[in-house]
């Protein structure tokens, strides 16, 4: 049983091949870290798995369905309903409060405002953010903003969470708090996680690590 799978995926940006036959499969509820040097194609692979980019060749499957052949609009609905995202720089909406930011995926999914905010609120205690509900992103530290982004990524109980260098802008202790919370929350909800990181200490939180090199995925050979 696989939650997410890429088969022989290739993708070029103009003349630049970013992926050249990348394959990976992730089991339901599994947390997989994609490692590799900068420019090796990690983010591109994540964007393909998450239906943001469409590969030139190969297939992407989610929950047994092929998603790379879906229309732009279908993929956008899939992302909204099934996927959560955390990026390197929180990318919170600056005009909204922290609470509204967390509620955003629910609001976009058609949940009424009061209900969405009600669902968002418990995340603040859970992630050690109690009292910060009303702040805007400019009034949050990097670690706090990233925890808000994590809550936003998980609030709609997505089937899969895609995280691209979620600790990349944080110092190591703050980064660890974010990873601890990410792993604990994902496990609690049974969310499958694909985590891109170039840091081994971050990757060590995952169940399994793979390495992207020259646009291909190398499974790690444990002796």
């Amino acid at each position: 049983m696989k939650a997410i799978e890429a088969r022989d995926v290739a993708l070029s940006f103009g003349e630049t091949p970013a992926l050249r036959g990348a394959s990976i499969s992730v089991a339901p509820g599994e947390i997989v870290a994609i490692m590799g040097p900068s420019g090796s194609g990690k983010s591109t692979l994540l964007h393909c798995l998450a239906g943001i980019l469409v590969p030139d060749a190969g297939e992407i499957h989610f929950d047994g369905h092929r998603i790379d052949t879906l229309s732009e609009q279908q993929r956008s609905i899939l992302r909204r309903d099934q996927f959560g995202f955390v990026f390197q720089f929180g990318q919170l909406v600056p005009e909204l409060t922290a609470e509204e930011n967390v509620a955003l995926p629910l609001l976009l999914g058609g949940v009424k405002r009061a209900a969405a905010l009600n669902q968002a609120r418990p995340w603040f205690e859970r992630l050690g953010l109690g009292g910060l509900e009303g702040r805007r992103s400019g009034e949050l530290s990097g670690g706090q903003a990233q925890r808000v982004a994590l809550a936003r990524g998980l609030v709609a109980r997505p089937g899969a969470l895609f995280a691209d260098e979620p600790t990349g802008a944080l110092d190591s202790l703050t980064g660890e708090q974010v990873m601890d919370l990410l792993v604990a929350s994902a496990r609690e909800q049974g969310t499958t996680v694909v985590l891109v990181t170039h840091e081994a200490r971050v990757a060590a939180y995952a169940d399994r690590q793979v390495i992207v090199r020259d646009g291909k995925v190398n499974a790690l050979v444990h002796s």
């Binding site: 601890d180 200490r201 060590a204 002796s223």
Partner: protein, 170 residues
């Protein structure tokens, strides 16, 4: 083990072994002849090398040492087995990489296996941290940061293998 590796390359005199050892592995302080011959003597006694043809003349310089099957097997398992993922292994890893390149062995594969071994240990330490008390956490962190440093070295070395091969093969 380093001398055994150099002999796996070709039968050599003690003098050649000392010269190659000093070039690649001694890091500034050269290996005394006495130690070279003491080690060779031990390897002969243990059946890992034998003295090949003795050339005419006097002194230890006449002896050429040849690796035996037993010695080659032992060297091979040392080279291919990843090192226990404890911190501060740079010198052992470095020796393995250089010898692997000298002997045209798949140095990149060894580095990959070593990387996997390190990552697995890092995962164990990370699991210990979760739910551990602060002392456990700090001890695990110490190991994690050192293993991470090793990994940086492994990655950088993997990226430089071609250049290193040229240097080592002369």
């Amino acid at each position: 083990m380093t001398l055994l590796g150099l002999l796996e390359r070709e039968p050599s005199h003690g003098y050649d072994l000392k010269r190659d050892y000093d070039t690649f592995f001694s890091r500034g302080k050269s290996l005394p002849f006495g130690q070279v011959y003491a080690t060779l003597g031990r390897l002969v006694r243990d059946g890992k090398i034998v003295v090949g043809e003795i050339e005419p003349g006097v002194g230890p310089e006449r002896k050429r040492y040849v690796i035996t099957d037993r010695g080659a097997t032992e060297f091979e398992s040392w080279l291919t087995e990843p090192v226990q993922a404890e911190p501060n292994l740079q010198t052992v890893l470095f020796t393995k990489v250089v010898l692997a390149l000298m002997l045209d062995r798949p140095a990149e594969e060894y580095l990959d296996t070593q990387r996997a071994t390190h990552l697995r240990r890092m995962k164990e330490l990370t699991d210990i941290k979760r739910g551990g008390n602060l002392v456990d956490v700090m001890l695990a962190d110490h190991g994690l940061f050192h293993l991470e440093a090793d990994l940086h070295w492994i990655d950088t070395t993997a990226a430089r293998l071609d250049a290193l091969r040229t240097v080592v093969k002369g």
